[in-house]
């Protein structure tokens, strides 16, 4: 073991420039990240973005083509999965059908040669923890979907891994159960304090559960940050489009304003707050979330404000989505509370506006 700096010890998992190639496909492309001790960290991205492969590399089930995997300060790239301090909850759970719940959970403990009274105590404790007391003698096929889920988590957690790897474990559950399990999983992680590394393609799941999120696309990490950072300050167009929804306006940096920059979009001068690190003339995309676009009186104070005409309105329950055509033909989507939409109809003239601090500039 090598001596490492104090800040390094705080990381349970570190990937250094990890790549994985499957034939002609580069599934993971120079991914580097650090997961802190006790953190709920999510890898979020569309299917095929390399998030599951990244997780499997950490667990030792895939061998990286290049790069290093570090677990608690030790390089484990060449360590086989059965000697790594990681445990995985598989997408399809992979519970052993020939073993009862108790033996499924005790599987790892038996391999470590623990005495049977210790095993019995640990299994009972973890069954208590996942809220399945007395389920030890049940067969796997007797369990419901949610119960199988908990057994799979218990089977991994009972080994007290340095990091628990979860590969879309809630994907097979129906929506209601999924929401319930999300809350339970988050509460469980809080109780046990184990580092969770969670793979999902569901942005809602990642936003509600994670301390930090890494958004992946085409084998690369696009952005790492907290839920709020990822949502409010996306750094790439992919992140802005994948997390929530956004209006994208193509333009160029026109000038630097006192507290930000001016972007010219088809003749409109859009004010954007923040430090303008991009040079004048650089092609950019401006991103505005629909819920930040205000209509009528609500837009009165906004620095970006233009006359427009309602093209289309869709009632969605609590909110109404209105598409507004601004002068020069630019269309923006506004998401407004349904009481603010009263009296508005397609064809009406309306003022649309948004604040510079809700406007994000993305380099193109």
């Amino acid at each position: 073991m090598t001596l490492v700096g104090a800040d390094r010890v705080e990381d349970d998992v570190e990937l250094r420039e990890v790549s994985k190639r499957f034939g002609p496909v580069l599934a993971v492309d120079r991914v580097s990240l650090q997961v802190r001790r006790g953190e709920f960290f999510s890898l979020l991205g569309p299917s095929g973005c390399g998030k599951t492969t990244t997780l499997r590399i950490i667990g030792g089930l895939e061998y990286p083509t290049a790069g290093e995997v570090v677990l608690r300060g030790q390089v484990v790239t060449d360590v086989p999965p059965y000697r790594r301090a990681t445990n995985m909850v598989f997408q399809h759970l992979a519970l052993f059908p020939h073993l009862a719940v108790f033996e499924n959970i005790a599987f790892g403990l038996r391999l470590r040669g623990l005495p049977s009274d210790v095993i019995a105590r640990k299994v009972d404790d973890v069954l208590q923890l996942v809220d399945l007391p007395g389920f030890g003698t049940r067969e796997i096929h007797q369990l419901s979907g949610g119960q199988k889920q908990r057994v799979a988590i218990a089977r991994a957690l009972v080994n007290e891994p340095a990091v628990l790897l979860l590969d879309e474990p809630l994907g097979a559950l129906d929506l209601k159960l999924r929401l319930q399990m999300q809350a339970e999983l988050k509460a469980l992680q809080h109780r046990v304090g184990t580092t969770f590394l969670y793979v999902t393609h569901d942005q809602g799941e990642a936003l509600t559960m994670s301390d930090r999120i890494a958004v992946m696309n085409q084998g690369r990490i696009e952005q790492v940050g907290t839920s709020q950072e990822i949502y409010a300050r996306p750094q790439t167009r992919f992140v802005a489009a994948f997390i929530g929804e956004a209006n994208f306006l193509e333009g160029r940096i026109a000038a630097s304003a006192p507290d930000g920059v001016l972007v010219s979009v088809d003749g409109l001068q859009v004010r954007v707050a923040g430090d303008g690190s991009l040079p004048v003339g650089a092609p950019v995309t401006v991103s505005i979330r629909p819920e930040h676009v205000k209509l009528g009186a609500a837009a009165a104070g906004a620095a970006n404000r233009w006359d427009g005409r309602v093209q289309d309105m869709t009632f969605m329950g609590a909110v109404v989505r209105a598409t507004v055509a601004l002068a020069s033909g630019i269309a923006v989507v506004a998401e407004i509370q349904n009481d603010a939409a009263v009296g508005l109809a397609p064809g009406d003239a309306v003022v649309a506006g948004w604040a510079p601090q809700h406007t994000v500039v993305l380099a193109r």
């Binding site: 999965p81 995985m88 598989f90 992979a94 020939h98 073993l99 599987f107 391999l111 067969e139 096929h141």
Partner: protein
């Protein structure tokens, strides 16, 4: 019946439809049942009768247990039973030891061309007559055959070792002939095993051997048992290969049947046939009982 008659007509029709659907598969069973009843069970009944009425064919039936008594009290015949069972056990064990890795490897082949090549290599010998294959083995294994030649050339043996006209020869030829029957049932089960169970075992700390021992083997046990039962029953009832490879020097039950048929000793031949059948059934039943507990859970996996 009476209650169905008081039901209104539409409901009675509905009941008929349900019944028709429930038993719609029965006609499919009919040919197999007919053949089995007519050929197998009827013949078995005839065998039982013939074993206790030796002169039935001559038209002077007289009940006697002579044939059964002769078999059961003579240690020579118990020795024949022992030899038969020993060959069956050894051939079954060797077929599983060779067949399991073969099936496992074949299930891993992803390229259709290679998989097909494997199937052809493994199963093509079935197309060749057992007699022809057995004579092939006689040539290979004889004192001057290829196997002894290679072993002597390599200096591994000084004198040629006797590989034919003994149980060794029978076992070698039987394993070769029955290997496909061991591979196929195992292959069908191993192929269904998903890799994530093995990955889960490794993730939980099992090395390759422990993964095999604790996950792969228990989950493929049904296929192994099926293979063992098929190979064992085919071995103890085989005649041509043991007859030719044994060269008259190894006595097994099927050889006794042949000998007594030739001698028109129908009562004794029937008795031996029934004892062979009883042995096969007893061993099948015992193996079923023994493994049922261990693989009843594995069965659930595939439903």
């Amino acid at each position: 019946m009476a209650r169905a008659d008081v039901l209104p007509l539409p409901q009675r029709r509905a009941i008929w439809r349900v019944m028709a659907r429930r038993y719609a598969h029965l006609p499919l069973l009919a040919p197999a049942v007919a053949v089995s009843v007519a050929v197998f069970w009827a013949c078995m009944a005839v065998l039982v009768v013939m074993s206790v009425y030796p002169f039935l064919a001559a038209g002077t039936p007289r009940f006697t247990l002579d044939a059964w008594q002769r078999f059961l009290v003579d240690p020579f015949y118990w020795g024949v039973v022992g030899t038969t069972l020993r060959i069956g056990v050894v051939v079954t064990a060797l077929s599983l030891l060779i067949g399991y890795p073969t099936a496992y490897a074949m299930s891993k082949i992803r390229r259709p061309g290679w998989a097909l090549a494997c199937y052809v290599v493994l199963f093509a010998p079935i197309l060749v007559s057992v007699v022809v294959r057995t004579y092939g083995w006689l040539l290979l294994l004889s004192q001057t055959g290829a196997v002894n030649y290679v072993l002597r050339t390599l200096g591994l043996i000084g004198q040629p070792i006797p590989l034919i006209f003994n149980t060794t020869g029978i076992i070698i030829a039987m394993v070769h002939i029955l290997l496909p029957f061991a591979v196929f049932p195992i292959l069908s089960v191993v192929g269904q095993l998903t890799s994530d169970l093995k990955e889960a075992a490794m993730d939980l700390g099992a090395n390759r051997w422990q993964t095999f021992r604790r996950v792969t083997l228990p989950l493929t046990l049904p296929g192994v048992v099926a293979a063992a039962q098929i190979v064992f029953t085919l071995t103890i009832s085989a005649f041509v290969t043991p007859f030719l490879m044994g060269g008259g020097k190894v006595q097994i039950l099927s050889g006794l049947i042949y000998r007594d048929m030739e001698a028109v000793n129908l009562a004794f031949a029937s008795t031996v046939a029934l004892i062979l059948l009883a042995l096969a059934m007893a061993i099948l039943a015992a193996s079923n009982v023994l493994v049922r507990r261990s693989y009843s859970r594995a069965e659930v996996l595939r439903t």
